[in-house]
């Protein structure tokens, strides 16, 4: 799909507008939860490193696992937005 202004103006129906709105809302609101989750994850991992600095390596390993899983949730929202933009006609 060509997202330049000319083609968007040419295909400006309500359906296209609602589709784009849905994509924007999905990508935007869908990142709130994972964002909060990431904050909690990093906060507690930094706190536990400060409490026991000798476990730094293990905590870092588990932190990376947490990052990967939470980032996947944020990217599910992005995939929904991409489906709305590029797959739904």
């Amino acid at each position: 799909m060509d997202v330049s202004a000319a083609t968007i103006a040419a295909a400006a129906t309500t359906e296209t507008g609602l589709r784009l709105l849905g994509a924007g809302l999905a990508a935007g609101l869908g990142v709130i939860g994972p964002g909060v989750g990431m904050g909690v994850l990093f906060g507690s991992s930094i706190e536990s490193i400060a409490r026991q600095p000798e476990l730094r390596g293990e905590i870092r390993l588990n932190m990376f696992i947490g990052i990967g899983i939470i980032e996947a949730l944020a990217l599910y929202a992005l995939v929904v937005a991409l489906i709305l933009l590029f797959v739904v006609k």
């Binding site: 060509d2 997202v3 330049s4 990376f64 696992i65 990967g68 899983i69 996947a72 992005l78 995939v79």
Partner: protein, 286 residues
């Protein structure tokens, strides 16, 4: 260099300001339209016949998978040839990665089958790592033989295949360790009657969802990364100013470094989640 040392300290902000104003005032290039979806269309490179519903023609992801296999095999052979007891830097780095895969991923998570399943988990880790990193090298497979970025794992088919491999190995490991009925019985958790059936159904659904989550996690991370890279690189064309071009250049480098980090993390996550799934299928009763 000597000339740079002779410029006094108070003159540097003036020079920087002059450069910035000059870049801002220079007339920019042509505005170009920006089409992102061209990366996702797959034109066959070599047409081969279809067998039934399966189209065998060679497309871009196929070539990139072959390149990955070549890189992994040749690099491993090269490192293996030069093994010494007093290792050089390359051998130390590769040994570090190998130990990460063996002890950090398979050993830390799987208690029972770490030695049996380490080949698959280490192989998945290195394969996905090289696949993601090769996707960050511009190769001439773009439209009309232009240089283009493309990651083989940025195709949902490739990541679904990898997730299906993990899925099949999980259940194969469970059935081989406990027998078919013993394996299904290990999913039933002692609980009050109605809750037990509900928990069983919910466990089955979450097992099936692991296919989706493993594949979509890897796919979406690669696609989103390439999207952001494409946006950053193309914004230089869209804005009509050299000043923003310079700022965007620095931003592009930062995003590119982050993409390398994400590539390594996603390979690690896939490997360690596969290890967790196979480990929980192998372990004894709750």
């Amino acid at each position: 260099m000597k000339l740079l040392k002779r410029i006094p300290l108070w003159a540097w902000p003036i020079i920087a300001l002059a450069l910035l104003v000059g870049l801002f005032l220079l007339p920019g290039g042509n505005k170009a339209t920006f089409d992102v979806s061209g990366e996702f269309l797959l034109h066959p490179l070599i047409r081969l016949p279809k067998i039934g519903p399966v189209d065998l023609s060679i497309t871009k992801p196929v070539v990139y998978l072959w390149i990955t296999v070549l890189v992994v095999c040749l690099f491993a052979a090269f490192v293996n040839r030069g093994l010494k007891t007093k290792p050089g830097r390359l051998q130390v780095a590769m040994e570090g990665l190998y130990e990460l895969a063996r002890d950090g991923i398979a050993g830390a998570v799987m208690k029972a089958g770490a030695d049996t399943w380490f080949p698959y988990i280490g192989g998945a880790f290195f394969f996905i790592l090289v696949c993601n990193l090769v996707g960050l090298i511009p190769l001439p497979f773009g439209v009309g033989h232009q240089l283009a970025f493309y990651a083989a794992t940025g195709n949902i088919n490739v990541t679904i295949t990898l997730a299906v491999c993990t899925f099949v190995f999980t259940h194969y490991a469970g059935v081989r360790a406990k027998g078919p009925f013993g394996y299904i019985r290990s999913w039933v958790i002692p609980a009050p009657p109605v809750l037990k059936q509900f928990i069983f159904v919910s466990d089955v659904i979450s097992e099936l969802f692991r296919l989706v989550s493993l594949s979509v996690r890897l796919f979406a991370n690669m696609i989103a990364g390439h999207f952001i890279l494409a946006v950053f690189f193309a914004m230089v064309l869209v804005f009509q100013s050299y000043l923003i071009g310079v700022v965007l250049q620095v931003g592009s480098v930062a995003v590119f470094l982050f993409e390398i980090f994400v590539a390594a993390i996603q390979a690690f996550i896939f490997a360690i989640l596969s290890a967790v799934y196979i480990g929980t299928a192998l372990e004894e009763e709750h």
